[in-house]
């Protein structure tokens, strides 16, 4: 996302004609914004951020404060809600479970994804397009459609309440997109690298390990981030597979805490706020990657 540079375009028209709007009309989708643009932007920001901000501030208030004036600022600031959540074992257990599930999902997706994409991108063999089509077809089947038999399968495999029972299916459903993104990425690595490696005596497997894998870092980060976020946020499959509170992930924890302590609005807000922190930090650190990954999936 390159920001448009501000080179003045010498137009045939005298600048005076547009003096009213300042330097508007220069370039880049037609110039700078006026007050109206900023007003719209401000509304968008407020509407987007307000719910999240309300949750964080609400966590610092007492239930009495919340009931008296939902929109007010904490007065006085109450730390109890956050302290209670942070000192509860269950919150940390949920977070740890989420982290384990998401990390396993991501690792499986990255390893199997790059392995599968490698021959599809750089070998020539009969049936290659057919195999690639299998992965593309995988995109057609959403988890929702398979959820009932998937749950029964996980149950029959004895993986109920196990992180693997969630991580492996999540990884399977993340693989199609992963291969579809990685394949052109690997194919675009220059041919010369491969020839040089061959001349130096590397086998194709050696090339994979020593050249291709290190170079596919950026592509792997993109697909890894997408898989991680999807797995971290997942709700439906964990809802069915993880019944035991000891094995549940953060989204399940948030849902059950919010129903269990429905009267304790401030407590729920504190719990939910803290549950958001990992996702928000991860998002801020990775937002370029996430955005580029999504855009790449569309642009190609």
């Amino acid at each position: 996302m390159s920001a448009p540079t501000t080179t003045a375009v010498p137009t045939g028209k005298p600048a005076v004609l547009r003096s009213e709007k300042g330097r508007r009309g220069r370039r880049g989708g037609y110039g700078k914004g006026g007050p109206l643009v900023y007003a719209v932007a401000a509304v968008v920001v407020v509407v987007t951020v307000a719910p999240v901000l309300y949750a964080y501030l609400g966590g610092f208030r007492s239930n009495a404060q919340l009931a008296a004036s939902p929109a007010g600022l904490p007065d006085p600031w109450v730390l109890d809600n956050y302290v209670n959540v942070l000192t509860s074992a269950s919150f940390w257990r949920y977070a740890a479970n989420s982290a384990v599930v998401a990390l396993i999902t991501t690792a499986v997706v990255c390893v199997l994804g790059v392995m599968a994409a490698y021959p599809l991108a750089r070998y020539r063999f009969r049936g290659r397009e057919a195999v690639a089509l299998v992965f593309t077809m995988g995109l057609l089947f959403p988890l929702t459609v398979a959820i009932i038999p998937l749950f029964l399968l996980v149950r029959d495999l004895g993986l109920v309440n196990s992180v693997w029972g969630v991580a492996l299916p999540q990884a399977a459903f993340a693989l199609p997109l992963t291969v579809v993104i990685l394949r052109p990425f690997l194919a675009a690595l220059p041919k010369e690298l491969e020839e040089a490696a061959m001349i130096d005596g590397a086998s194709r497997i050696g090339f994979f390990w020593r050249v291709l894998l290190p170079l596919s870092g950026p592509g792997l980060v993109t697909v890894g981030v997408l898989a991680f976020v999807a797995s971290w946020n997942a709700y439906l499959l964990p809802l069915l597979v993880l019944n035991d509170p000891a094995s549940q992930t953060l989204p399940l924890g948030v849902a059950s805490f919010s129903t269990q302590y429905a009267q304790d609005t401030a407590g729920v807000l504190a719990f939910t706020s803290l549950a958001m922190i990992p996702a928000l930090v991860f998002f801020l650190a990775m937002q370029k990657r996430i955005v580029n990954g999504l855009q790449g999936a569309v642009k190609g």
């Binding site: 370039r27 989708g29 392995m115 959403p142 399968l153 997109l177 946020n233 948030v254 939910t272 996430i290």
Partner: protein
């Protein structure tokens, strides 16, 4: 796609075909300094490599995608509670029951309404914001991050917050009262006439960022000199957007429409948290109905039929959309087509 034959042996003769019969004459013997230590011919070795790389991914997908999908079709033909033998074959009865069931039909129509409203609301709104953010305004990158943030939050987390915001005498009610619209306040999630619209408003909040980010990506592809030319001709900002930017953004918009449509059909998490499909089934979606009937009530055969119907509807819509809408892009711009399909 630039895959090319690569040979393991430095002196291997050009192979006739990549999939030459594995039993190459012994003349090629240990046909290279490396790679054939186990006496495999290059072609066989290559096939073994391909299998080694691709098989794990295919196996995982076979077990956790293909098998469950096939099982769904199979279960859908039985009356089955998920336990015991699968022996009460009922043919298409589950399908007939579903199609005849008013709640399922409500779910289908709710899903379609959600698709329609998502497109009717998020498209213009997303375009507006994307066009604004494409200008040189201060804090533009901050705005991009902010508007995309809801998309990254778990639906459950966002849903729980919205439940609290929308509860009676919650922040939303208070804000309406503060601006003198106290009469508008109501049971946002508790009134059957209102709940679905409330859910759609929350969905708009959650997914507008995705539209904006994708549209911004598309805007990157609009060449700068087009604007310059238009400017020389004295076109106004709005004329330029309407006549140039938006048409050039066509492929991106159509791709987003596809994503939005498929996503709307799968809707579960947010609705489950906000309303659970209620009140009085007014916000029920196909996925909610499926889970209600399946794991909650133990009607696994019936729920599988609902899942197959959901898939069938998705597939029909996807094919229709592909032939009626996305084909446009193929005709005048064959280039990005392949990648588009990818973006589901």
């Amino acid at each position: 796609m630039t895959a090319r034959p690569t040979s393991t042996g430095t002196t291997a003769p050009p192979r006739p075909a990549d999939d030459a019969p594995p039993s190459r004459p012994a003349s090629s013997g240990p046909s290279g300094p490396r790679g054939t230590r186990r006496g495999l011919s290059p072609a066989a070795r290559k096939r073994a490599e391909i299998a080694f790389f691709v098989a794990p991914a295919l196996a995982l997908m076979a077990v956790f995608i293909a098998l469950p999908v096939l099982q769904a079709v199979r279960y859908s033909l039985y009356r089955w509670n998920g336990l015991g033998p699968l022996d009460d074959f009922v043919g298409l009865e589950n399908y007939a029951t579903a199609l005849d069931n008013p709640v399922f039909r409500d779910a289908v129509s709710n899903n379609f309404l959600i698709i329609a409203v998502s497109i009717a609301v998020q498209l213009p709104l997303g375009l507006l914001v994307a066009l604004l953010l494409n200008r040189e305004i201060r804090g533009r990158s901050f705005l991009r991050v902010v508007i995309f943030m809801p998309y990254v939050l778990a639906e459950v987390v966002a849903g729980v917050i919205w439940v609290l915001l929308l509860q009676p005498r919650g922040l939303v009610d208070e804000l309406f009262e503060a601006v003198g619209l106290g009469g508008v306040t109501q049971l946002w999630l508790g009134d059957p006439d209102v709940a679905l619209w409330t859910v759609m408003a929350v969905l708009t909040w959650k997914y507008l960022g995705l539209a904006v980010i994708l549209f911004l990506a598309g805007l990157q592809g609009v060449p700068e000199d087009v604007y310059e030319a238009a400017q020389l001709d004295g076109a106004s900002w709005w004329q330029v957007q309407r006549r140039i930017t938006i048409p050039l953004l066509g492929p991106t918009i159509r791709t987003w429409g596809f994503l939005s449509m498929i996503g709307s059909l799968q809707l579960f998490d947010m609705v489950w948290i906000l309303t659970g499909g209620g009140p009085a089934n007014s916000t029920v979606t196909m996925a909610i109905y499926l889970i209600n009937q399946g794991t909650d009530r133990g009607l696994y055969g019936y729920a599988s039929a609902v899942a197959v119907l959901l898939f069938g509807i998705s597939l029909v819509l996807a094919v229709l959309y592909n032939t009626l809408v996305l084909s446009k892009d193929r005709d005048d711009a064959p280039r990005p087509r392949r990648q588009k399909k990818v973006a589901r």
